[in-house]
């Protein structure tokens, strides 16, 4: 069995923080959850994170802000954005900035799997 890849989830919504890691574990990933971008940045998991599932509308530092901050710090973590607010313009912009996928909540397991596969192919 391959070593579980670490997928970190950053979302201020409790139900996402509870449900998504459970599914990711079922899919064979190791997970860490964070309620804010700041929490993630100060955690010990930034270096180990192989894929970041990141909410866009976060209190304080937003998801896109975190994306920029990670690029600035030289972390090239594949990012799957998730959002409750579908916006085509935002989607275009984030994908052009290097995001792997942009998923609108609620998203299916199939969409999540495809995004995770894409994230694994990065680099």
């Amino acid at each position: 069995m391959v070593i579980s890849l670490l997928v970190s989830v950053v979302d201020d919504d409790q139900s996402v923080r509870e449900s998504l890691p459970a599914l990711l574990q079922q899919l064979g990933y190791a997970t860490q959850v964070f309620a804010s971008a700041e929490e993630f940045l100060v955690s010990d998991y930034v270096d180990d994170t192989r894929c970041l599932i990141l909410d866009i509308a976060l209190p304080g530092m937003s998801g896109p802000d975190l994306q920029q901050e990670l690029i600035r710090r030289g972390h090239r973590i594949p990012i799957i954005f998730i959002t409750g607010l579908d916006d085509e313009a935002v989607r275009e912009r984030l994908l052009s900035l290097g995001a792997v996928e942009y998923l609108s909540k609620p998203f299916s397991e199939g969409a999540l799997l495809a995004a995770l596969d894409a994230a694994r192919r990065v680099r």
């Binding site: 919504d13 139900s15 449900s19 079922q26 209190p59 409750g84 607010l85 909540k105 397991e109």
Partner: protein, 552 residues
């Protein structure tokens, strides 16, 4: 003086002042009084001025063999030829002059083989140049002597005719304008002499009353169209009018098809030369206005609803977000659940727990929908006991995303043990929503300081409860304070500006008041206070307790 008399007087001058007896004989046979009578008759028969002038030239020509006369009429600016007439001149000659600027007319008669014998300006009584009376000699004809004063006299007859024609035209025009004005303003007029009950009504009056125009107007006839319920009022006004008092009142008419019209009657007394009362009345059909006032009321109500709905529009994204979060949890949990059931061996306990989480999340989504419906539904909730803190928190739950988007740093300072208030929960929430959205809007362009938004509740003076929303936005100009609460007034470029006026009326319906004030620092604070439920007012003193940030 009638036209005939006037022309007759001149013809008398013409005959008596003529020193040349040979001419006098000739011209007395010409019978100038006959001209006056003929011209007067033409006017009587309402012939247009052009025909009258043409006839005048014809009469002149009949007496002078080999000559033909012409009247060139100028337009009121005196710069252009209005038209030229002369029955014995070639019609192309007359047409050639029509409409031309006077300066370029030149001497076109030469081309027609005519020689100008005499001409005289036609002047009005005030000396205004109206036109020219000219007599031409045909080629090959011999000149005929005419008395030297004849031409000016004829020109004078023409001038009287022209002035008369103009005044007829003018009064015809003003009559037409009056008729049109009455029609456009749905205003009919009538005159009434109480002494004899003689009446006359305008075309529009007949139209409004839907009366056959051949009927003679009488008070009784008018009364027959007055709505039966308004007949006593109508009769009373009429009987008072007989004593010389003016009146103005609104009443209804009922048409034969039972449709109802709303009219405003204004009647004013005047006195004629014999000091007899003479009334001039106008009756305006205000039905469309009355109906539109009704429509306006409806529109206002609709607008108030639209204002709510447009807040909803602004919040749609926020609501979608609020609903999608728990839905996302539900979908994810169900996927997890399936995995757990498909495992070998199935993780039944895990599946059960995950299914519960899915149910909880679905319930949360349903809760959001219920809150939205409560907030924006059209139903009128009956009065109930309302916990303002709870109502506030519900609004904030819906607004969180919007507040974040606006970059507002929200602090809630809700007093604990707040007495309940009596009122319409949904309406009060709309007010809170309006105040919060206004605050966000006011801070939209603030860049140099934190966009701090504080919503607080506390016990106010007089046993009421006060809710305040304080922002660090742009505030407002003190002189605008009053206007802020008027419908349609807004300092925003977007938005309908109805929020504060509707909010105030909601609070006033709750026997409270809503006001705004500028902060000591930047921004403004809008507050309302409403009385609490009587049984609650004696409750213990409040303490500040739940002071927390939305960002926790």
């Amino acid at each position: 003086m009638t036209l005939t008399e006037e022309i007759g007087a001149h013809s008398h001058d013409l005959c008596t002042s003529n020193p040349d007896t040979r001419c006098a004989q000739r011209w007395s046979g010409f019978c100038i009084p006959y001209i006056g009578a003929t011209i007067g008759d033409l006017f009587q028969k309402r012939h247009p001025l052009r025909v009258v002038l043409d006839a005048l030239c014809g009469l002149f020509d009949a007496a002078l063999e080999g000559h033909c006369s012409s009247v060139v009429l100028l337009d009121p600016t005196q710069a252009r030829v209005r038209y030229a007439v002369g029955p014995n001149l070639p019609s192309s000659y007359n047409e050639q002059l029509t409409g031309n600027p006077v300066r370029v007319v030149g001497a076109p008669h030469i081309a027609y083989g005519l020689r100008l014998s005499w001409s005289s300006p036609i002047l009005s009584l005030t000396g205004e140049l109206l036109g020219v009376f000219a007599v031409f000699l045909r080629e090959g004809s011999d000149p005929v002597p005419i008395p030297p004063t004849l031409l000016p006299q004829f020109a004078h007859i023409a001038s009287v005719a022209i002035e008369r024609g103009r005044s007829v035209e003018k009064s015809g025009r003003s009559e037409a304008i009056l008729r049109k004005t009455q029609y456009l303003s749905s205003t009919g007029s009538f005159s009434w002499r109480p002494a004899t009950d003689e009446m006359e009504g305008s075309e529009e009056l007949y139209r409004i009353f839907e009366l056959d125009s051949s009927l003679r107007l009488t008070l009784e006839l008018m009364c027959s169209r007055v709505h039966p319920e308004d007949v006593p009022l109508f009769r009373e006004k009429i009987s008072r009018a007989r004593n010389g008092s003016d009146f103005e009142f609104e009443h209804r008419l009922r048409m034969p098809d039972h449709s109802v019209k709303y009219v405003r009657s204004t009647v004013q007394a005047t006195r004629d030369e014999d000091d007899q009362l003479d009334y001039i009345g106008v009756i305006q059909d205000v039905t469309p206005r009355s109906l539109s006032e009704e429509a306006l009321d409806k529109a206002r109500a609709e607008l108030a609803r639209v204002a709510r709905v447009s807040s909803l529009g602004a919040l749609t994204a926020s609501i979608a977000h609020e609903v999608n979060q728990p839905l996302s949890g539900t979908v994810t949990n169900c996927s997890t659940c399936l995995h757990m059931l498909a495992a070998d061996p199935p993780d039944l306990e895990g599946a059960r727990e995950t299914a519960r989480l899915a149910i909880r999340d679905a319930q949360r989504a349903a809760d959001v929908i219920r809150r939205v419906r409560a907030l924006f539904g059209r139903r009128n909730e009956p009065t109930e006991s309302v916990d303002l803190n709870e109502a506030t928190q519900e609004v904030i739950a819906l607004l969180l995303t919007e507040l974040q988007r606006a970059g507002a740093d929200l602090r809630m300072e809700l007093a604990e043990d707040l007495p309940l208030v009596r009122g319409d929960r949904v309406q009060l929430q709309q007010v809170i929503l309006n105040l919060l959205l206004n605050a966000c809007e006011a801070m939209k362009d603030v860049q140099d300081r934190p966009r701090r938004l504080v919503i607080g509740t506390e016990r106010g003076e007089g046993g009421g409860i006060r809710l305040r929303v304080r922002d660090t936005g742009l505030g407002f100009e003190p002189q605008d304070l009053k206007r802020l609460f008027q419908a349609f007034y807004t300092t925003k470029t977007g938005g309908m500006g109805i929020g504060l006026s509707v909010s105030r009326s909601i609070i006033e319906r709750h026997h409270g008041r809503l006001w705004g004030e500028l902060n000591d620092g930047p921004g403004a604070t809008f507050s309302f206070s409403i009385p609490c439920e009587p049984a609650q007012c004696a409750a213990k003193d409040h303490r500040w307790s739940s002071v927390y940030s939305s960002r926790s």
